[in-house]
Every structure is written in structure tokens, then in C-alpha cells.
């Protein structure tokens, strides 16, 4: 007998498969809706997180620009050569090279005899490109002529000229490298904005050129790269290419130094978000396709080939996928480009030059990742569906995982069954854990980062005080200028304020260092003449000998705990007993560094008519205690020793600590006490609360944007969980029906489901608190170029955890109710017969 050959001829069945696919989706709305929702959520999450995330990064860069006062990545200080400037200008990776230079300090104005302000000159690139982001308002123009000044409200107030506007005149006495001058100036412009330069005047190029300062010895080059991310090697090579002299200082901003780490941390976050989207789609697709095995078997029984079946499944997924991605992107655009900017506008938050922009690359990435997740996710279930025989398919009763043989165990039935449920379906458990934990971790991470940008961005001041008051009655040259602006009554008023926990006073008296050839005063004169080129050494010595009190210094007394703090910062080199007993002092000066050779030698000084001598235990660079403005050096001695030198020392500053940091009421009361002080114009206040407010102001929208991202991720994570549980309930319908058929009541089912939810919540919280803390710490430190201490934002984290726990407990119950609806056990069992 001859064998017959059946030829498989190609025929056009595309239309029938397409029609079948569309009909299947229509008749299985509920299951396909879950898949649709998953794809929608994933593309939405990717699009909105990346869009808002990029805005967040822009805002954080803006904050740095505002904190530093201008936008730059590298600064070359202590002068630069024209060749070095050209090298930088010729580099293809450099966006701009700005020039900034200091050219003198204001000593007094016609309205204030003690002014502490400087003169700065910036070139066009600096002012128009690098400084622009930190300037929020500008009236008038940058100085063009020699007598023009660009001011801020702050510097005008410091000069006692707060009423001046553009075009107004003021007379200033200032010192530059050519001497001390008094000149009439015109205000060419007033700017508002951010930066430490607000206490200075900007001058014209003409003015700069006549001050005696030159760019080669005191100019600053500010470099901004085109890219926001640079490797350490590139920065190092750039430094080498400049051939810096010994005196030049090359300083990369801490942001650019850590930029690659920041980039990797951001990419790590992106990877976590993409992975989360992929896992979710994969799991739901797997459950969705493999849940229809019986149906696919039926189609095979009716003559559908494997190839046609694969095409049929792909067609369904394609339809749902395209709709889901489109809907997700539309939702993403609505939230991140319409809703978020609207909310920001309503809240009155200024985003400067940044804002919520449409990034085509984000759109492409969102579509690509979602599509890749769909393609990868559909492969395995298609394989299962195509490989199962029609007979096997008909017997298929859902995704039953075959667990390993297990001995009978003890313990509460519900907990045991809930644990089994998690163990038996490891893939689903992993997806739920990952999805929830990732949302919590990203929330944890972002809230930690955001939180650290607020209060803790305030650089800790002396003793981390909440409020500092300086007695600034003193003038540089007049030894008798110091007044008792902070007296006992004032001190007592501050101490009595309700919210004040601690008040600490730094006291001192002016001292004169008599001229001794080869001695400390001689050394000091030499140092000063180097800094003031218009003075000759011999003139300075003769002037000093005539009026040593014009170059007076201060003796300041500190207590034991302050000594411990200062000694610790100096490497604990001073003998405690010797210092406290008044045998040694710390020589402190902010003008230039005092060599260590002075340690061990004795210095003479006089207070009034009394001549004294003290041994130097240590030298220190700076002026921390009392922020005095005397020309001469400071001697830090023990409190007791100061009292032995004078019966009535002046209080130089008060350091106040509140019971509750940033307490507005206490702050207000202290400011009122200062206002009532007759010397209130000469009391300089430094407030941690005000600093915090300034920084918060410079953040403009960062907190809100970050919070939107965190909450969005938390929401997406929760929606993922709801979606996964809804799918899980669909797949476990039969099991619940069986359990109910043998006597399990709905109440008992709910008990079981609550426990399952609590295990999911517990697992996710555990992962968050362990691995999440590690990840958060790592990312925090990677981005922590401002060296802010790591602290966990407990309250938001607790709220998020609580929210997740409630959601985990309630979702299975609600989804179970929706799955069961009001159908009897019989009806539900029959679905599987």
C-alpha cells in the first residue's frame, strides 16, 4: 500500500487569527485588563519616573549652583596665566571659562564706620553665563565705569545704605593693593539671588585694573564642563595639562568629583526601576498565558497548528501591549508634564531655568524597556502553550506548582498555609517582594536624600548652635572701640527665654603686642607687609612702634569643654593642665598661617598698663571665637586665666542652643531681645533657622519634585501588588472553592488571606530595612558630595511601611471578594469541570 503525503500549503489565515485574537480579548476582558493595566503601569512608571527624575537632577544641580553662587565644576585659584586660560578655552569638553577676582575690601561707608564687605570683578562669561543661574532678579547693569558698583540689598544694608536704589550714590572707604582710599560710587545695578558673594560689591574692569591686584597672582578661573559627568582621570589630566605653579590651587567641585558615582547611583536606580517593570510584566504575562492553556488546547484540538497558535497568542499580546504602552505614556505625559508642573505652579514654587521638559530619550527608553519586558515575558508561556498536547491541555487546571514532598508540620493552620503559599509560588512571591520592596526602597532612598537636602544641608556652625550673636561694635584700628553690647542683663534675658536650653558666652579683651625686633610682633609686621604691597617693612615698623595699639589683638577665654573641642581639632597637642592653669595659650590668626616654630616660645602682650607673658602651646589658622575684626592676632587662654587678667572682660559672642532646634517662637523672642538692645545695629546674628530657610529657598521645588517621585513609585508599587494579587486570586479561584466546599468559611478564607498579605508586607519591609538600608546608604554616600551625615527619615518611612502593611492585608480580601462575587461554591467549582 502506498503511503499518502499530506502537503501543508500556505493559506491566508491571518484574518481569522486576528479576528479570533480580538474576540478572545473582548470575551476575557477581566484577565486582559489586568495585563493591560500591568503594561500601562510599567510604561507610566518608567516614563514619569525618568522625566521627573531628570528634572530632579536638574534641580539638584541648580541648588548647588545657588549654594556656590555660580555654575562651575573646576576653579583655579590664587591666580592664573593667560596660557592656562587658553588651554581651558581650547578644550572641546569645556563649556565656559569665567574669570573672577577679588580686588579690595570696604572698611567703612559714610553711614557705617565698620563695614565688612569686599570688591569683586567678574568677566562677561562669569557674569552672564556662570553667575546667571544664581541671579533671580537684576535691576540696572553690570558696572561699566570706574565709579560704578553692582550691589545687593544685603551689602547696602551692611553699609547702612539700605534705602539706595539704582543710580544712588555712596561714599566708601576701602583698601586695595595701592592703599586706603575714600571714593564716591554710583550704584549701577542691584541684583537678587544666591551665593556667598551677596556681601560684596561687583566692580568694573576699569576699577579692577587700578586696584593693584592682578589676575596672575590673585585671579580665579571658573570652568564649567559641557557634560555634567566627568571621570576623575579626565579631571586629573586637565590639572596636569595646566602646569600649575606651587602657589596655584586647583579645586574641582565636590559635585563633579563625585559625578560619575552619582551617575552610577542614578543608573542603578534606573536599573532597579526597569527590573521592577520587567519582573512585573513577565509574571503577569506568564500567569495570563499559562492560565489559558485549556483554551489553547481546545484550539489545537480543532486543528490550529502550533505556528498559528503562537501567532494567535502574539497577536493578543501585541494588541494589549500596544494599547497598554500608549495609555501608559499618555498617562505619564499627563502626570509629569501637565499635572506636576501645574501642582508646582499652584504651590508657587520657582524652578529657575529648569522645569519639566519632554525628553524624547525617556519616551524611547520607556517604550523599549516595556516592549523588551513583553517580548521576554511572553517567550516561556508561549513555549508551554505550544508544546502542551491537546489532551494535556484539557486536563490543565491552572498554574499548579509541584512542591517537594513535605512532612506534616505543627503550628497555626492559617500561618502555615500562608507560608506554603509563598513558598510554593516562588516566582510570584519574588515579584511581589521585589515590587513592594523596590517601591519602599526607592521611597526610603529618595526621602533620605530629600530630607538630607533640607535641615542637614545647613553647614554645622560653631557647636552646632541654633543662634549666635556677635558683638560687632569693634573696629579694626581702634582699640577702644569695643563696647559692652552684650551685658549681663542681655545675657540673662536670653537665658530666661522659654525655648532656650543652653547659652554660652565667649569673653575677651583687647591686647597690644609690644614691638620686639625678631619677636612675634616683628614677624607679624613682615607677614602683613607681604599682604599689603603698598606698605614697606621699614614704614610699617616705625608706624607700629609709634602706635602699637592700632594693631591690637585680643585675648579670649574658653572653658574646659571648648578647650577639649579646640585641642581635638589641633590634634591634642596641648597639655590640658598647663592650658587650664594659664601657663600656655593658643595663638590664633586668620590673616596668614603662623609657622609652628612659635610653639614653645613665649609672647609678650599688655592689657591696659599690665605687661604679661605667656607660652604658646599651639598655633591655629582662623578666627573662630567671637569673630572679631582686630588687625592683630588672638591669644586663646583658659577662662580662669582671662579672669585673672581683667575683672571686666567683654562678651564677644553668645552661642545659644534651643530645646528644640529650629523653634520659630524662641527664634522670634531672641530677635526681639536683640531689637531692644541699644547696640542692636552692632549685634551680628547668625541663625541656623535662617540658614535653613535660605537653603530651602535655594532648593526651590526639589523637595516637592522628589516627594512626587517617591509617592509615585510607592503608588506604582502598590498598584503592582494589587494587580499581582488580583491575578493570583484569578489563578487560585479553584483552590478557594475547594477549600470552601470542604467547610472553610469565608471568614476563615479572609483570615488566611490577611496572613498571606502580612507575610508579603513583612518580607518586603524586612528587605527594605536590611538590603534597602544598605542600598540607601550606598546611594546616599555616592551622592553625598556635601558630606551630610546619614540619617534615616523615620516618620515618612514608618508611614510608608504602615501604608504598605494595610494595603497588603486588605488587597487580597478585596480581590478575593471581587473574584468570588456572589456566586455559590458550586458555580465556581463548575468553571473547572
Amino acid at each position: 500500500m502506498e503511503g499518502k503525503v499530506i502537503l501543508m500549503l500556505a493559506n491566508n489565515n491571518r484574518s481569522v487569527i486576528n479576528k479570533l485574537a480580538e474576540n478572545t480579548i473582548r470575551t476575557n476582558k477581566r484577565q486582559f485588563f489586568i495585563l493591560f493595566l500591568t503594561i500601562l503601569l510599567s510604561s507610566f512608571m518608567l516614563f514619569s519616573i525618568f522625566t521627573i527624575g531628570l528634572t530632579y537632577l536638574d534641580l539638584s544641580r541648580l541648588q548647588n549652583t545657588r549654594l556656590y553662587g555660580s555654575e562651575y565644576d573646576i576653579a583655579v585659584m590664587n591666580g592664573f596665566t593667560e596660557d592656562q586660560r587658553k588651554i581651558l578655552l581650547n578644550r572641546s569638553d569645556v563649556k565656559s571659562v569665567g574669570v573672577l577676582a577679588y580686588c579690595g575690601n570696604v572698611k567703612s561707608s559714610d553711614s557705617d564706620r565698620s563695614v565688612n564687605a569686599g570688591f569683586l570683578w567678574g568677566d562677561k562669561t562669569y557674569w552672564e553665563s556662570q553667575k546667571a543661574l544664581a541671579v533671580t532678579e537684576m535691576k540696572g547693569h553690570y558696572p561699566q565705569t570706574r565709579n560704578e558698583l553692582l550691589a545687593t540689598e544685603e551689602v547696602l544694608e551692611a553699609c547702612g545704605k539700605s534705602s539706595l536704589s539704582v543710580g544712588g550714590c555712596l561714599s566708601l572707604t576701602y583698601e586695595d593693593y595701592t592703599g586706603i582710599h575714600t571714593t564716591d560710587f554710583v550704584i549701577s545695578g542691584i541684583w537678587k539671588g544666591y551665593g556667598g558673594d551677596k556681601a560684596n560689591f561687583y566692580v568694573s574692569k576699569d576699577f579692577y585694573e587700578q586696584t593693584g591686584y592682578d589676575l596672575e597672582s590673585s585671579g580665579i578661573l571658573q570652568v564649567k564642563f559641557k557634560s555634567n559627568y566627568m571621570t576623575g582621570k579626565t579631571i586629573e589630566k586637565l590639572k596636569e595639562s595646566l602646569g600649575l605653579s606651587l602657589t596655584q590651587v586647583f579645586q574641582a567641585s565636590e559635585y563633579i568629583e563625585r559625578s560619575l558615582t552619582i551617575l552610577f547611583a542614578v543608573l542603578g536606580l534606573c536599573f532597579i526601576i526597569c527590573l521592577s517593570a520587567y519582573l512585573l510584566i513577565y509574571n503577569i504575562l506568564y500567569l495570563s498565558v499559562s492560565g489559558k492553556i485549556r483554551y489553547y488546547g481546545l484550539l489545537q484540538t480543532l486543528g490550529m497548528t502550533k505556528k498559528q497558535l503562537v501567532r494567535f497568542i502574539r497577536k493578543q499580546i501585541l494588541l494589549v501591549g500596544v494599547t497598554g504602552i500608549t495609555a501608559g505614556i499618555i498617562l505619564g505625559i499627563s502626570v509629569s508634564l501637565i499635572l506636576a508642573p501645574y501642582v508646582v505652579k499652584v504651590l508657587g514654587i520657582s524652578l529657575g531655568n529648569t522645569g519639566f521638559y519632554f525628553y524624547p530619550e525617556v519616551l524611547a527608553l520607556s517604550i523599549l524597556v516595556t516592549a523588551a519586558a513583553i517580548l521576554c515575558g511572553v517567550r516561556k508561556p508561549i513555549h508551554i502553550a505550544a508544546d502542551v498536547t491537546p489532551v494535556e491541555a484539557v486536563k490543565y487546571r491552572g498554574n499548579i506548582v509541584i512542591p517537594c514532598a513535605r512532612k506534616k508540620r505543627q503550628g497555626n493552620l492559617y500561618w502555615r498555609m500562608a507560608k506554603d503559599q509563598l513558598k510554593n509560588n516562588k516566582k510570584r512571591t519574588a515579584v511581589v517582594f521585589l515590587s513592594l520592596a523596590m517601591s519602599l526602597i526607592v521611597f526610603f532612598c529618595l526621602t533620605t536624600l530629600i530630607d538630607s537636602q533640607g535641615r542637614r544641608t545647613v553647614y554645622p556652625n560653631y557647636w552646632d548652635a541654633d543662634f549666635i550673636v556677635h558683638n560687632s561694635t569693634q573696629t579694626t584700628e581702634d582699640i577702644t572701640s569695643l563696647k559692652p553690647a552684650i551685658d549681663d542683663a542681655f545675657l540673662s534675658d536670653i537665658q530666661k527665654t522659654a525655648g532656650v536650653a543652653e547659652v554660652h558666652a565667649v569673653k575677651g579683651i583687647p591686647v597690644v603686642f609690644p614691638y620686639e625686633e625678631g619677636g612675634f610682633s616683628d614677624f607679624w609686621i613682615k607677614g602683613c607687609t607681604k599682604m599689603k604691597p603698598y606698605l614697606t617693612y621699614s614704614d610699617a615698623v616705625s608706624e607700629y612702634q609709634k602706635n602699637p595699639e592700632k594693631y591690637y589683638g585680643m585675648v579670649k577665654g574658653i572653658d574646659e569643654s571648648e578647650f577639649n573641642y579646640l585641642n581635638g581639632s589641633l590634634g591634642s597637642i596641648i597639655d590640658r593642665q598647663e592650658f587650664l592653669s594659664g601657663k600656655t595659650a593658643i595663638l590664633q590668626y586668620a590673616g596668614f598661617e603662623i609657622p609652628k616654630k612659635w610653639i614653645g616660645s613665649s609672647i609678650s602682650f599688655s592689657t591696659g598698663n599690665q605687661k604679661q607673658e605667656i607660652k604658646i602651646g599651639a598655633v591655629s589658622y582662623g578666627d573662630y571665637y567671637g569673630a572679631t575684626v582686630n588687625f592683630g592676632a588672638n591669644l586663646i587662654v583658659s577662662e580662669n586665666h582671662l579672669e585673672s587678667l581683667t575683672s571686666k572682660p567683654y562678651v564677644l559672642s553668645l552661642t545659644v542652643k534651643y530645646k528644640q532646634s529650629y523653634d520659630v517662637e524662641t527664634e522670634k523672642e531672641i530677635k526681639n531681645i536683640i531689637e531692644a538692645n541699644p547696640y542692636n545695629h552692632d549685634l551680628l546674628s547668625i541663625s541656623k533657622y535662617d540658614d535653613m530657610k535660605t537653603i530651602q529657598d535655594s532648593q526651590s521645588g526639589m523637595f516637592e519634585t522628589g516627594t512626587v517621585i517617591s509617592l509615585l513609585l510607592l503608588l506604582v508599587g502598590m498598584l503592582n501588588y494589587i494587580n499581582t494579587m488580583a491575578n493570583s486570586m484569578q489563578n487560585r479561584k479553584l483552590t478557594f472553592s475547594i477549600m470552601e466546599s470542604v467547610g472553610m468559611s469565608k471568614k476563615q478564607v479572609k483570615k488566611l488571606l490577611i496572613r498571606e498579605g502580612m507575610l508579603y508586607a513583612g518580607g518586603s519591609v524586612f528587605i527594605t530595612l536590611t538590603i534597602g538600608t544598605g542600598i540607601t546608604w550606598f546611594i546616599f554616600q555616592s551622592m553625598n558630595y556635601m558630606k551630610i551625615p546619614f540619617a534615616i527619615p523615620v516618620l515618612p518611612l514608618l508611614c510608608a511601611i504602615l501604608l504598605v502593611m494595610i494595603l497588603c492585608a486588605l488587597t487580597p480580601i478585596v480581590t478575593y471578594k471581587r473574584t468570588v462575587r456572589n456566586r455559590s461554591v458550586t458555580e465556581r467549582l463548575r468553571e473547572y469541570e
Partner: protein
């Protein structure tokens, strides 16, 4: 005289499928005495399973009453019905309906644990030995053959020592030899523990093993021409 343990009065059940109403049971009056073995036969869709489900409290009638062991199931709420199924009735399904996530031992003791009752280990051991599945207790349903799964399902149905055992085509998925074994075991156990046994079957041989056979046709008890 043996008392009536199951009694239905004008029992009707209607299902709505789209705009159509399907009458699954139509005024059935049916009685079963204590310790009786009754088989129910009839064509597919005649209402056999519906009747069994009504007696077992898995579904509520559209009209009429079902009284089992003196309890009117038609008046019970969901919680009471669950308690009834757990304590009074033992179900055996054609598809075995074992819980896939639990091993055989846990499946058998599941209704007892739901009740918070202490598991009578000796009794369970006796049951599983009688049903020849004592060596399968640590395994999961998917690891067992059809016959073994059905015997596990019987063990679960008997574990609570229910007053009435309801078996819906328990041999439908088994071969002839296994079918006779299963029914034989059921009968022996029901006699041993003085339980009432109601079995739905298509197999006339099995039906003949019962004390009495009831035929259903178009939702009614067929009384013969």
C-alpha cells in the same frame, strides 16, 4: 425504624444564563434514611450534581427546603453552611478536588484543622491504611495517580466522621478495577462508621451496589412509566 436523615420538599433550582433560565431541579421530593446507601443516576444535565450540592449545602435552592439531620439548610447563612459542610457532610468529587498546595496528610486533616479540632491520629492512620495511601501522606496531590488521589479525597471526606457522605461521580476518572475498589471501600467504611452514603454515578454496575437507586430526569425524580 431508621430515621430519615435527608429530606427535600419541592426542591427547585433555577440558573440564569444570559437571558435564559435553566431549570436544574424542578420540585424534587426526596428522602434518604440513616445509614442507607443511595445511588443517583440519570443523563448528563438532569440535575444529579445540583441535587447533591443542595444536600451538601454547597448551593441554596431557588425554592423548597432541604433538611439534613434535622437542619434546614435553606434557612442557613454562609457561615452556618460552611460549618455544616465541615461537620456533617463529607464530599467526594469526580475531579478529586484536593488542595494542590497541601500534602495528602494536610489535605485529609484540613476540615478538622479548620474546626480547631484535635486530630484523632489513630483514626486517620486506620483510614489511610484501609484506603492504602498510608505511604503517600507526605506527597502532594499532583504526585499521585488518579485512583490514589480519589482515595485521598475519600479519606478527607471521612476524616471528620460526617453523618452523610456525598460522592459526585467518584469513579468518573478511574478505570473499572479502580472504580470498584473505590466504591467497595466507600461502602465498607460507611457501614463501619454507620454513615449515610449518596453516590452519583453513570455506571449501572456501581449503582447496583447501592441499597436503593434513584433516577433523575429533567430535574425531577423519575418514577417510571
Amino acid at each position: 425504624m431508621e430515621r430519615v436523615i435527608v429530606k427535600t420538599n419541592s426542591l427547585s433550582k433555577h440558573y440564569h444564563i444570559g437571558t435564559q433560565t435553566v431549570i436544574a431541579l424542578d420540585g424534587v421530593n426526596f428522602e434518604v434514611k440513616e445509614r442507607e446507601f443511595v445511588s443517583i443516576i440519570g443523563k448528563s444535565g438532569c440535575g444529579k450534581s445540583t441535587l447533591l450540592h443542595m444536600i451538601g449545602g454547597l448551593d441554596l435552592p431557588t425554592s423548597g427546603t432541604v433538611i439534613v439531620d434535622g437542619m434546614n439548610l435553606s434557612e442557613m447563612n454562609e457561615e452556618q453552611l460552611a460549618l455544616f459542610r465541615r461537620r456533617k457532610a463529607g464530599f467526594i468529587f469526580q475531579q478529586y478536588n484536593l488542595i494542590p498546595d497541601l500534602n495528602i496528610y494536610d489535605n485529609i486533616t484540613f476540615p478538622l484543622e479548620l474546626d480547631g479540632a484535635v486530630v484523632d491520629k489513630e483514626f486517620i492512620q486506620e483510614l489511610v491504611e484501609t484506603l492504602h495511601i498510608a505511604d503517600k501522606l507526605e506527597m502532594f496531590p499532583s504526585m499521585l495517580s488518579g485512583g490514589e488521589q480519589q482515595r485521598a479525597a475519600i479519606a478527607r471526606a471521612l476524616a471528620t466522621k460526617p453523618a452523610i457522605i456525598l460522592a459526585d461521580e467518584p469513579t468518573g476518572n478511574l478505570d473499572t478495577s479502580a472504580s470498584h475498589d473505590v466504591i467497595g471501600l466507600l461502602k465498607v467504611i460507611a457501614e463501619k462508621y454507620q454513615q449515610t452514603l449518596i453516590v452519583i454515578t453513570h455506571d449501572l454496575d456501581i449503582a447496583q451496589m447501592a441499597d436503593r437507586t434513584v433516577r433523575l430526569q429533567d430535574g425531577k425524580i423519575w418514577k417510571g412509566k
